[in-house]
Symmetry: C2
């Protein structure tokens, strides 16, 4: 990869050039034709698609073939429960829910408590990783998935049902391969080098094509999956990849737990949210006077970028904000206040749904129609 | 290791020099003092001990300290279910049962169906490994362990209860280490390199000292265990190591599924057993006449060696057989017939117990006192 930026499942550094990433990872851009077909099949558009936040894919066209021909498909996504979730973590889940609503398909959501424990540099105890898995599960349940078509599971609990298939996957992957794909070395612990097998398994939960909505940094796992799935009698997985919501601190890298000022957490209080957004990296001029005269740059203004990514779904309103900001009619502070109100409203509503989800979590994890079916099944 | 022989958990080649093995593995010989103490604590002797078939140990003295002081200990052994069991496989289980009877302790027996599937050169399907696990479990149950103090489990079933602890073990072992200990390389699959964590876990099932009766080739696992157990809050395991029952084909290597003529299987019919022993490697002279004159060599006579290892527990009778053979009074064919009758009787009795064990297997695996306790427990 280019030296100017790095994207692996554990690290995103530098200013990401998404066109180069498509080339480097060997994925395909979502072109207009495919976008229109997806929107037509879905019956409505979604701004994460039309704005090319989900910008890249593997075999999305085949997923639509399968759906159009009545074969169907299923969705799989996940979360590494290393701590509290922030807005960047939850957005793909809202998009996944939209896909479920539009296509009426099953969704499998893996909580990788094993992985987060095995990543030594995190220094999480297994108990902490498992506690975060339960905490994060509530935020995911708050998104509002169909309780009878959604299975949320944590690896350390569901392992018994996955282990036989994980062994079959693991037997097809050697150390040399995970070293090349993930950069593992002689010091990597043997749990970590086994882990990719565990992450591949849910993509084989059904004898249908799997579609994985995920940030582009997870793609290395799906490359492995695609190399071995057919030899095990399953479909190569499809994927639809998103860009990273820019950190509040500026358009470099991705939000990170080690820099709490870079992200808004779902549990944060109003005061802290207001303060963080107020301090966010701006595309404006040093003074209001200069800004009125020269205008701001929305390309690097994080407040505008967040509105673009997620918080202002109305394209016309967004366009006006962009034009007014460029023209100097909107100050950076005003842009931040617009975002702040949207974020606070989103967080408030999410939190209310999180409270309600406490009653529903058992359906996603154990008692809903799909969950019950999954606990009865051993994947081989 | 010396080039003349090789001993690893997957391979035993050449004529094994057990004194060198003790030195190479860094274990301790069982000296007279320790032997006498073990026999005293056990309340009786066992010919596998007095004849030094179990010849080496780690921390057996500490196990006896713990037992004498009332702290107690527990036993752990296992079986790689890659096919039908032969006499060489079952002898350590009979010895383990004797230890259980004498010390009234819990026994954990791991069936490593995952390992046998992951060993690619075996070309076993996972379904075959699991089928053999069930088959082998019956032979092990036939040995007559205490159904309320014995837990027989197969990895792919019990994994859920072991996985959290396996992760903790795995996080402490890197690839460099398993490469050095087991000779893994870049082509080793990631399941195989993770597997040592799974074999270590049962040695941590109780907060007491674990004693592992096993063939010396399994010791590399226990070296790893001993390096990490205390940092996880457990005892370093103890072990008591046996020599290999010599193959019928001669005093080199160990019995092997790839050479069926080298072993007697527990399911074999009388005709086949008679034929195999009759063809066994002999320490006799080319003709009966010469044998009468020069005598035979019991050191390399497999029939005598089998009597020595297991089938003639009476030391006086054994001594007479040895002397008469050396003196040419017993022909090789006669020695073979003596062994044949003993083996047939043993197999017949074992098989009757195997039939009865069909009714008991559920106690060892699920419903006995210890089994029920174990299924309720998640090891962390």
């Amino acid at each position: 990869m280019d030296d100017e930026f790095v994207v692996t499942p554990w690290k995103v550094e530098g200013k990401v050039d998404y066109a180069k990433l498509i080339e480097h990872f060997g994925t395909s851009p979502i072109d207009d034709e495919l976008l229109n077909r997806l929107i037509k099949d879905a019956g409505e558009e979604h701004h994460l698609l039309t704005r090319r936040i989900f910008f890249s894919h593997r075999d999305l066209d085949k997923v639509l073939d399968d759906w159009e021909s009545g074969k169907g498909f299923f969705l799989y996504t996940g979360r590494g429960p290393s701590g509290p979730m922030h807005i960047g973590h939850i957005i793909p889940f809202y998009f996944t829910k939209w896909l479920q609503d539009r296509f009426k398909v099953n969704v499998y959501i893996q909580l990788t408590d094993d992985e987060k424990f095995l990543e030594e540099e995190r220094r999480l105890t297994l108990e902490e990783a498992r506690k975060w898995a339960r905490d994060n599960a509530l935020d995911i349940a708050a998104v509002g998935f169909d309780p009878d078509k959604t299975f949320i599971f944590q690896d350390t609990e569901y392992i018994k049902n996955m282990y036989p298939l994980a062994l079959k996957v693991a037997r097809k992957i050697n150390f040399s391969w995970v070293r090349a794909v993930f950069g593992f070395d002689m010091q990597t612990n043997i749990g970590m080098s086994f882990y990719p097998a565990i992450q591949v398994v849910p993509s084989l939960f059904e004898r249908k094509r799997c579609l994985i909505p995920c940030a582009i940094d997870q793609d290395p796992y799906w490359r492995i999956q695609r190399d071995i799935a057919e030899s095990l009698g399953f479909y190569k997985t499809a994927a639809i990849h998103s860009k990273f919501l820019p950190p509040l601190t500026g358009p470099i890298g991705k939000m990170s737990a080690s820099k709490p000022e870079s992200a808004i957490y779902l549990h944060e209080d109003e005061k802290s949210i207001r303060k963080k957004i107020w301090k966010a990296y701006s595309g404006g001029q040093p003074t209001a006077e200069l800004h009125r005269k020269l205008g701001g740059n929305p390309e690097i203004d994080v407040a505008f970028q967040w509105l673009y990514f997620f918080f202002e779904p109305d394209d016309r309103k967004l366009k006006k904000l962009e034009e007014d900001y460029r023209a100097g009619k909107i100050l950076s502070g005003e842009m931040k206040l617009i975002l702040t109100e949207k974020v606070l409203k989103f967080i408030e509503e999410h939190r209310a749904r999180r409270e309600e989800a406490k009653e529903l979590l058992h359906l996603y994890m154990y008692d809903g129609e799909l969950a019950r079916e999954m606990w009865r099944k051993v994947h081989e």
